[in-house]
């Protein structure tokens, strides 16, 4: 598009230079191309929603709202109810949070407030490596290392001494809700720790100094100045962890057994939405079966979507840059 340039490197005859009309196709095209890629994110999200709704309409019309409350999952009789799966998803995730959050916050406090600089990076790195661990490897470890340990001594002890509590009632299988909760806790721990640490480090030093000047002990500084300041960010971290736990598949599937019921007992084999999908999808042979599974996936997506939106709203408000989170 350059008129009059030619191949000469000496000054071009100035009179020949003109300001032309816009012939800059490159910019116009590239703008469209990049916009397309940017919008592809929206497109993918919407497409996933659309496709899931589409494929589950068979089951939706067959069971309606009863799908959410039904407790039988019987491919032979062609009856599908998702309640135990949903319950299992929520219960296992909450157990994971109960176990992981105190440890995560403690570790985050250590990394952010206590650790000497030379220790901070390597330790943070190791915690992030825990997050990078493939779920299936954790599941394998879960089957052959964790489950035997859970069966005996953990469940034996709990069943022996505390069986009056419904949580600890029942034969100690090893596989079941407790093991699933433990495995999820391990998966969720590094995520909460990393975000909580970032959020805590962002608290201005002046806040801490103000507390110190009042004569507070180190712990009082943390609980009085640091934690309150980043409260919503910490909540966001926990909820992001929850979001991850809800959708986690492989490790959970490998240790939760295959029970399909709603009980209080942690020792019982159970199911989550994800584990049901993982174990049954390849066996689904007829349309209603597949449709029911897709509807289950839709429900799972709905739950995680809600939780993630909530978490992002909280985290966005506090920490400006989520950074690269190894989920």
């Amino acid at each position: 598009m350059q008129v009059g340039r030619g191949n000469s490197t000496t000054a071009v005859t100035l009179a020949r230079r003109r300001l032309w009309r816009i012939g800059n196709w490159g910019d116009a095209l590239s703008r469209i191309a990049f916009a397309g890629l940017g919008l592809s994110l929206l497109a993918v999200a919407l497409l996933i929603l659309y496709e899931l709704v589409l494929e589950s309409r068979h089951a939706i019309s067959a069971f309606g709202w009863g799908f959410l409350t039904g407790t039988r999952w019987d491919p032979v009789d062609r009856v599908f109810g998702a309640a135990p799966a949903i319950y299992g998803t929520l219960a296992s995730s909450f157990i994971a949070l109960i176990l992981a959050v105190p440890v995560s916050l403690g570790a985050a406090i250590f990394l952010s407030e206590m650790a000497p600089p030379w220790l901070r990076s390597p330790l943070s790195f190791l915690v992030e490596m825990l997050a990078a661990l493939p779920s299936v490897v954790l599941g394998l470890w879960g089957i052959y290392v964790l489950i035997p340990w859970v069966r005996d001594p953990v469940e034996m002890w709990l069943g022996g001494h505390l069986s009056f509590i419904p949580l600890f009632d029942g034969p100690p299988f090893g596989v079941g809700m407790l093991a699933a909760g433990l495995v999820l806790a391990i998966m969720v721990l590094p995520i909460i720790t990393a975000i909580a640490r970032d959020v805590m480090q962002a608290v201005p030093t002046s806040q801490r100094e103000a507390m110190v000047a009042l004569g507070a002990t180190r712990w009082e500084v943390i609980i009085g100045a640091v934690l309150p300041y980043c409260r919503s960010g910490l909540m966001g971290a926990v909820i992001l962890g929850l979001g991850r736990a809800l959708g986690e598949t492989m490790a959970v599937t490998m240790v939760i057994g295959k029970g399909y019921n709603i009980t209080a007992s942690l020792f019982q084999p159970a199911s989550t939405a994800a584990s049901t999908l993982a174990s049954e999808f390849n066996e689904a042979t007829y349309n209603l079966y597949i449709s029911a599974l897709v509807e289950l996936a839709l429900i799972l997506m709905g739950i995680t979507l809600l939780v993630n939106i909530l978490a992002r709203l909280l985290v966005w408000r506090v920490a400006r840059s989520p950074g690269v989170i190894a989920e």
Partner: protein, 291 residues
């Protein structure tokens, strides 16, 4: 440059040590500016709803140095960025009025700003060579990335020519493949000048080119400017009045109005503006009463 505190009527405000050339400073003729230089007519510029420039009119003489001076925030940089259509790169920025380059309005509808910028080059306040490129690649960047030249021999020729023009060749000729970031501040700025020269512009805009440099580097660049003015039209923004007085042929003085829009209050040959300013505000600014 001495500030004369004795104010006798009719006496020059400052005694003025001019540069060596004895060529008298003429006013700019409009015809000359129209055919070979820049003519600015009723230029207004906004950032969103905030007006940064109001009704600026100016003549830039070809192959001379025109300085734009004024207190901080009066819109000098905004003005100069309107000359190569860089102002509109800022989101929600817009311009009205005319800027005629050799008689053609660069803001005429349908004009490609990319082509404008190839004819009106710019050197920035803080030297900004591309850090991932070598000295050679920096100077060649404009040529290569615009698709002007591809053949190695031609590019090498152009790079050497530009570096010579920027008075940098002798210092870097043995190390043109070294990263540009290895150069000193003053050298980097001359590299940026060479980079701008390589594209063979007609006008070179300089936005406070020496404010990030030490005095020795500054003087080198001022010498370079005078050399370049033989071939190119140069417009320089500076907050350093002495520099403007040393280097420029014509000076435009800008002031900030009450609504913080920038206005041009005086324009003329440098010697006149500094010794017999017509506007009281110019006099105040030059004698340091404010700004």
């Amino acid at each position: 440059m001495k500030t004369d505190s004795q104010l006798r009527p009719g006496a020059p405000i400052m005694s003025y040590e001019m540069r060596v050339e004895s060529e008298p400073q003429a006013t700019v003729s409009e015809a000359e500016a129209l055919s070979e230089g820049l003519v600015v007519r009723d230029l207004n510029a906004w950032y969103g709803s905030f007006q940064a420039l109001r009704e600026i009119s100016l003549l830039v003489a070809p192959k001379h140095i025109t300085a734009i001076i004024g207190p901080s925030g009066c819109g000098k940089s905004t003005l100069i960025r309107c000359f190569n259509r860089m102002h509109e790169v800022t989101p929600r920025a817009r311009v009205s009025g005319q800027v005629l380059l050799r008689g053609e309005d660069i803001y005429a509808p349908g004009t490609d700003p990319v082509l404008v910028r190839q004819r009106v080059g710019m050197v920035f306040q803080k030297p900004n060579p591309f850090p991932t490129m070598s000295i050679f690649d920096n100077v060649a960047a404009g040529l290569r990335l615009n698709g002007f030249l591809v053949r190695r021999s031609q590019v090498a020729e152009a790079v050497e020519r530009s570096l010579r023009q920027a008075a940098l060749w002798e210092e870097v000729k043995d190390k043109t493949s070294r990263p540009a970031t290895e150069l000193s501040g003053g050298q980097q700025q001359r590299l940026c000048i060479a980079r701008a020269l390589a594209v063979e512009p007609e006008v070179i805009l300089m936005d406070e080119p020496c404010s990030a440099l030490d005095p020795v580097a500054t003087l080198k660049i001022e010498d370079l400017m005078r050399e370049l003015a033989r071939e190119y039209t140069i417009v320089i923004v500076t907050h350093n009045m002495q520099q403007a007085a040393r280097v420029s042929d014509h000076t435009a003085v800008m002031m900030m109005a009450e609504d913080r829009a920038g206005e041009m209050i005086e324009f003329g040959p440098t010697r006149e503006v500094f010794t017999y300013p017509k506007d009281k505000r110019t006099e105040d600014y030059i004698t340091g009463r404010f700004g």
